[in-house]
């Protein structure tokens, strides 16, 4: 038996930390870390609801696995874009105006 208030509070904190990371960082890789935190908050919500519901399709757990896969694909492409940005501009500071 578990009270769902604790996992849901953790979901809220992770999403809030991720939003802060996206807004308050200027290094592109650190912004990506914030995006990862938001994705993990969504994942924790999926797993929590999937663990307590009687679903024969196990939707919560399966969708959590799918989100992890999509996040892996996303971070691969995003880091390739960041490296291309670094090669063409010499910096990955997101507050610099585009050249």
């Amino acid at each position: 038996m578990i009270h769902l208030g604790v996992p849901f509070a953790l979901v809220a904190i992770l999403a809030g930390a991720g939003v802060y990371g996206v807004i308050a960082r200027r290094n592109a890789v650190l912004v990506l870390i914030g995006v990862e935190l938001i994705l993990n908050a969504a994942n924790l919500l999926f797993v929590t609801v999937g663990s307590v519901s009687d679903d024969p399709l196990r939707t919560g757990h399966v969708l959590a696995l799918f989100v992890i896969t999509i996040a892996a694909a996303e971070i691969g492409v995003a880091l390739a874009v960041v490296l291309a940005l670094y090669r063409s501009r010499g910096s990955i500071d997101l507050t610099e105006p585009g050249a």
Binding site: M1, I2, H3, L4, V6, P7, F8, A9, L10, V11, A12, I13, L14, A15, G16, A17, G18, V19, Y20, I23, A24, R25, N27, L30, L32, I33, E36, L37, N40, N43, L44, V47, T48, S51, V52, D54, L57, R58, H61, V62, L65, F66, I68, T69, I70, A71, A72, A73, I75, G76, V77, L79, A80, V81, V82, L83, A84, Y86, I92, D93
Partner: protein
């Protein structure tokens, strides 16, 4: 408070603290290392919730692969070592970010916790076999589509990283 409540709270406190540190620390590499702590303890949270398969995939994919990619990206972009305030935006933007983050937290927590967090519910343990059956049964076509997505992402990352450098940059250097 049940046993699972206590276990989840203990692990979740570490997760929340390390997540906040990952977005506020002034050292670049420390941010990636705090992300390791966050993702690892989150996999412990999944174990408490009885989702063994998701916990193991989280460890393998996130802690094993994604964080290594992030660390490589930090090294390849010549990240400055040591403490530096240059990774964060200006103070007004950080204050605005904190306000938006607090609003997000309050909104999500305010909706989810009162709606579903009240009474104790039973956690279904040992569902790995059911997850595997569903994954390769009803969910097999989305699953195969995801493997195609991974292939496309691999080719796209390769293509983007091999793009030619613009001439003006070469002229400047």
């Amino acid at each position: 408070m049940t046993t699972l409540d206590v276990m989840f709270t203990a692990i979740g406190l570490v997760t929340a603290a390390s997540a906040v540190l990952a977005v506020t620390t002034r050292q670049l590499v420390h941010a990636a290392l705090w992300l390791v702590v966050t993702l690892g303890t989150l996999s412990g949270c999944y174990l408490v919730l009885g989702a063994e398969l998701v916990a193991l995939v989280q460890l393998l994919v996130y802690v094993g692969a994604v964080v290594v990619l992030v660390l490589f990206a930090l090294m390849l972009t010549r990240a400055p070592m040591g403490r530096s305030a240059a990774h964060s935006t200006s103070v007004p933007q950080r204050v605005a970010g904190a306000v938006v983050a607090a609003g997000t937290t309050a909104l999500l927590g305010g909706v989810l916790v009162p709606a579903l967090g009240g009474q104790a519910v039973r956690v279904h343990e040992g569902r790995t076999e059911g997850v595997a059956t569903a994954l390769f049964g009803s969910w097999v076509w989305p699953f195969e589509l995801l493997s195609l997505l991974l292939l496309v992402a691999l080719v796209a990352a390769f293509a983007v990283s091999r793009m030619p450098v613009p001439d003006e940059r070469a002229g400047r250097a």
